[in-house]
């Protein structure tokens, strides 16, 4: 990686190819078919939930304003860390909240997950601006747009010479919170779907009660949810290539490609997650 955080970013939008779309649909159908074959209808429903969760994660990552290495020098706007890492931090904090609220039902747990992820990003983004403003004396300025779409603030006159902008404009702050919330929502959905599957299968497999297998089911669902989260976050990060300012960045328009990739990756990885116990039983 160069000092400026990767190759020149074109912001170009590449539409998915027909071949890619056909292959993706085939893979998803195969995964759904196998899920039906091994775990019946419950497996198909769970896999659909996991695919939706994965797509939400990948879509959410595109909202998160990430400046990478250049942001650490005030050379580009955004948060000075990696795309996948920051999204994972937010999404997993959401998963923490969602898993805690799981006994209260799907709606409460999903909302809890979304708010948990959004809260982490709200606090982090605010602290980033605190450091930029009170630690470094630098006001926020976007490099991609001249005017904040929400507040109407203008940026060119605040941008330091020789940089692409710096700090977190309000639109990026909002993008961060939306991205964190979508990540928390998606991660929690994956966790809950897997938990349902394991809670149904483990008692039969181990000849035990639901209470007895709860720690195993929660651990398995939790670790798979973390893994699936990272798969989708990293896929989205590859699609972004380097840095993104948030929903106003031209690179944001690349998201359809990430959604297709995330759906396929979630379908294939999700199939192995839900069929894990069946596959273990086979051997």
């Amino acid at each position: 990686m160069s000092a400026l955080g990767g190759p020149k970013q074109t912001g170009g939008v590449q539409s998915p190819t027909a071949m890619g779309i056909v292959l993706s649909i085939v893979l998803i159908i195969v995964a759904l078919g196998l899920a039906y074959f091994l775990v019946q209808m419950a497996g198909v429903i769970a896999l659909v939930g996991i695919i939706i969760g994965g797509v939400l994660v990948a879509f959410g990552v595109h909202f998160v304003p990430v400046g990478g290495a250049p942001a650490a020098m005030g050379q580009s706007p955004g948060i000075a860390t990696g795309v996948a890492m920051l999204a994972a931090g937010a999404g997993l904090a959401g998963l923490f909240g969602g898993a805690w609220a799981a006994p209260f039902g799907l709606a409460v747990a999903l909302a809890g997950g979304a708010v948990g992820g959004g809260l982490l990003m709200a606090i982090t983004c605010t602290m980033v601006n605190v450091i930029y403003i009170f630690g470094m004396g630098i006001p926020a300025a976007s490099g991609k747009v001249d005017k904040d779409p929400i507040t109407g603030d203008t940026f060119p006159e605040y941008k330091s010479q020789g940089t692409e902008g710096h700090g977190l404009p309000f639109i990026s702050w909002v993008g961060g919170v939306v991205g964190g919330a979508l990540g928390g929502l998606g991660g929690t959905l994956i966790y809950l779907e897997l938990l349902d599957i394991y809670q149904a299968q483990l008692p039969v497999l181990l000849n035990a009660t639901v209470e007895q297998i709860a720690p195993v089911a929660i651990s398995l669902a939790g670790i798979f949810a973390v893994g699936m989260f990272l798969i989708n976050a990293v896929l989205a990060a590859y699609n972004i290539t380097g840095t993104i300012e948030g929903p106003h960045d031209p690179k944001f328009k690349r998201f359809p490609r990430a959604i297709i990739a995330a759906a396929v990756a979630s379908a294939v990885a999700g199939f192995f997650a839900i069929a894990l116990l069946e596959l273990v039983g086979v051997f």
Binding site: T81, L86, A93, W100, M136
Partner: protein, 299 residues
């Protein structure tokens, strides 16, 4: 009611532990130069600037802390299963995890610095000897406090995740909060201390990091001293606020209504939106538009 008061006490304690963890994490990563600003430490010799800064960024802070905290938590969990007192178990688990961090720091410094040999950058053995132990000490504080916080969440607040998984989740969140908040302060304010205050570093100045201190050459301990003044505490406040609000909204409001924590969470997010917008406008008014001074050019 008594349960809520107990929960609030635990929440405050967990928030305090998280604050210490965040501060130690950022200071550790700046002494070891593990965050994004390390791109400049790696670049400097290639531009002809030989330096004595530590260099261990072979992994980002979030995955690295995910590993170390999950390792500390996993070992502590195993020791507790062996009927060892929880506090001793957490200390032992964290200490063992810190040895892994020490091995990581040593091999990363040697590997990364050796890769710069063709640009004339030497591997300083005295740097390795004096700084690795300092990063390990800071890492111990960060890992111990995070594992202790995770243990409180499980044993006192009843979170369903097992300790190692919770360690992974909060380790990654700790690294994310610490790197997001602390990196700009280390990168812009310290590595590029010679550049104008109140402006971003011009891209043309990349690699020209500050290499001399008040006396002799600057090393990473000087950077740790600097980070501990603002970047570290700010990262601590960031992570502490995250953990505190995450727990507080659940512990206090779940009893009233199952939707309580969610509504309170949204209110807190809106509150932070107002704070963020206020300081953004404050900065625009007080700092004003950018105006270039003639001596602001690179180097």
């Amino acid at each position: 009611m008594e349960e809520i008061v107990f929960g609030i006490g635990i929440t405050a304690l967990a928030g305090a532990l998280a604050t210490v963890a965040g501060a130690a994490e950022d200071t550790e990563s700046d002494i070891g130069s593990q965050g994004d600003p390390n791109s400049q430490v790696q670049l400097a010799p290639q531009m002809g600037y030989i330096h004595r800064i530590f260099n261990k960024a072979v992994a980002g802070e979030p995955p690295a802390y995910g590993l170390w905290v999950a390792l500390g938590a996993g070992l502590a969990w195993a020791f507790m299963a062996m009927q060892i007192n929880p506090i001793l178990a957490i200390v032992l688990g964290s200490a063992l995890a810190v040895f892994v961090q020490g091995v990581y720091a040593t091999t990363a410094y040697l590997g990364r610095t050796a890769s710069l040999a063709k640009f004339g950058q030497p591997v300083y053995i005295d740097i390795l000897k004096s700084m690795t132990t300092v990063t390990m000490a800071h890492a111990f504080v960060a890992i111990f406090t995070t594992v202790a916080m995770c243990h409180l969440m499980i044993s006192a607040l009843g979170h369903p995740f097992p300790l190692p998984l919770l360690g992974l989740v909060w380790g990654i969140a700790l690294g994310a909060a610490g790197s997001a908040t602390g990196n700009p302060f280390y990168g812009k304010e310290r590595q590029y201390q010679e550049q104008a205050f109140g402006a971003g570093v011009p891209i043309s100045a990349s690699g020209n990091i500050v290499r001399y201190a008040e006396a002799g050459q600057r090393n990473s301990l000087d950077n740790g001293f600097f980070s501990a003044k603002l970047g570290g505490p700010a990262s601590g406040i960031c992570f502490g606020l995250i953990v505190f609000f995450e727990l507080w909204r659940t512990v206090v409001f779940e009893e009233l209504n199952i939707w309580g924590p969610i509504i309170v969470g949204v209110v807190v997010i809106l509150l932070f939106a107002i704070i963020d917008r206020y300081i953004e406008v404050w900065a625009r008014k007080n700092f004003g538009p950018y105006s270039a001074a003639p001596e602001e050019a690179s180097s």
